[in-house]
């Protein structure tokens, strides 16, 4: 790798490190703000899932269960940002082809796949919980996925494969460093 290429990586990594740090701060603040201004209440759930027949009363237990399910995806997003921040920290210090960087890439990819899968599962569970209070015959077991979920799974899978390749590349680079 030439010095010019490395300088490009370092300068872009500095920018992306800052962006992922901002994301890590912004994400919990935005979630907290949604609760403060009342955009994450039961009425908002009704609005989001208006296409389904929902019972008159959505209990607090159901609401909390849904919040817990939704928080899994958010925690995974937080985890991805954290791992990205770590990866860009290595890159901005000039460390690129190492096992540590490959490990970060692998974790990011796996977490993105998990976000896609959780996205599909959580939608099924949330709709089931919301319609559970309906009379028998009006409860909904919905299995659906949108292009966002598929996108996360494909992008995550791609990054996992790149992570494996980078791990091999890191081994070769390590071997190469032993040669003069």
């Amino acid at each position: 790798m030439t010095n010019r290429d490395l300088n490009h990586i370092i300068s872009l990594a500095r920018l992306l490190h800052l962006a992922s740090t901002i994301g890590l701060i912004f994400l919990p603040v935005a979630i907290g703000l949604a609760f403060v201004i009342g955009e994450a209440g039961i009425d908002d759930l009704r609005e989001t899932y208006a296409e389904h027949t929902l019972p008159e009363v959505i209990g607090t237990g159901s609401y909390i269960s849904i919040l817990v399910i939704q928080s899994v995806g958010l925690l995974l997003t937080f985890y991805v940002l954290w791992q990205m921040r770590g990866l860009f920290a290595y890159y901005k210090s000039g460390e690129t082809l190492t096992a540590r960087c490959a490990g970060q890439i692998l974790r990011i990819g796996k977490a993105l796949v998990a976000i896609g899968v959780i996205g599909i599962l959580s939608n099924t569970l949330i709709v089931l919980i919301l319609t559970w209070g309906n009379p028998a015959g009006q409860r909904v077991l919905l299995v659906s996925f949108n292009d966002g979920n598929v996108g996360f799974i494909l992008a995550g899978g791609l990054i996992v494969v790149i992570g494996w390749v980078m791990r091999e590349a890191a081994l070769v680079a390590e071997e190469n460093r032993g040669f003069i």
Binding site: E175, G178, F179, I180
Partner: protein, 70 residues
């Protein structure tokens, strides 16, 4: 068998200092020191050729296969 690096012998014969040789073959003094002590996994043909050119010798003058010491 193990490969023993005889670079220091050849440098002494040619009265070449480590700093000068490192500069002429384009590697750091630290790497040259590692090479002299044999604490490397290998040497690139490119590096070997440059050393041979500067020290006016053959690869066999720099490397020797010796029985492994137990």
């Amino acid at each position: 068998m193990e490969i023993v690096v005889r670079l220091d012998v050849m440098m002494a014969l040619r009265k070449m200092k480590g700093r000068d040789l490192a500069a002429r073959i384009g590697i750091t003094e630290q790497n040259l020191s590692l090479l002299k002590s044999g604490k490397v996994k290998g040497i690139r043909f490119e590096t070997l050729a440059r050393i041979c050119e500067v020290l006016e010798c053959q690869p066999g003058d720099l490397l020797e296969a010796a029985p492994t010491e137990d």
